[in-house]
Symmetry: C2
Subunit: 167 residues, 2 copies
Amino acid sequence: MSVLDEVLRSNALFVETYDTGRAMAPVKRKLAIVACMDYRIPLEQAFGLKPGDAYIIRNAGGIVTEDVIRSLLVAHYRLGAEEFLIINHTECGMQTFRDEELRDDIRKRTGTDSIAPEQFHAFLNLEDHVRQQIQRIRSHPWIPKHILLTGCIYDVHTGKLTPVPAL
Amino acid sequence: MSVLDEVLRSNALFVETYDTGRAMAPVKRKLAIVACMDYRIPLEQAFGLKPGDAYIIRNAGGIVTEDVIRSLLVAHYRLGAEEFLIINHTECGMQTFRDEELRDDIRKRTGTDSIAPEQFHAFLNLEDHVRQQIQRIRSHPWIPKHILLTGCIYDVHTGKLTPVPAL
């Protein structure tokens, strides 16, 4: 059985007991979360999120790229999000290589070059990294100053979320 | 109590009963999922995902942007993902406006212009949209041809996931 088949089988069970109210859930907490794609962060469970609570944006490293800014703008201007949480985590895979190293590796394995992605956004220091993402959001001319914005670190060994104080 | 306080309070309860094994979960299903940020899609529950099963990439519309390609490349070349699922959904907020409309609205409300994001990626037809995302992945020179790749539509009223057949 392929992974797709397994997913569809699990989904068939989910559908049987589906709570149709979920589709009607109004926006409650007006939150947008930017987090890493890592499966060690169970966002809903770890942060008590319920339907209607948060738009969830995830990518490799929890990086505030142009695409994340796009999603945050849609979340705010079209969907009512008024508070943003940036969640990075300990032992992130993006701390285990340098951009050029991965680029060279892929070039060698594929025998071809590519201009996109322009960057992989590997990083070294986690706290600096969180502050850099906050700065990227704060400096965008379309992000209103009244938006509540907090950067946090999630510890994958304890499950604990800790806000990173501004410098 | 602010939303951040609520999140931290929920997290404190989560930490008390945290399963430390989660941090050690090995990659199991070798899956990467690209989905919309919409909170009406409870990915873990709806698709039976467990720790170690899937890297989860989410943005406004479940669009395969350059940033999503970046995350998929990291998921494959650094983290072992061998199968990609693209999940778009019915009644997506990205079907409710046109790019220029949102751009004009934000320009008016902020009194300023911005070159980024270059596009918002609003769309009209859902099936076409799914096929377009699949095509964006398939056409990237660094995505290996052996990667299993499926586009699906998630129905927010029934919870059902349906693969979109290739044309």
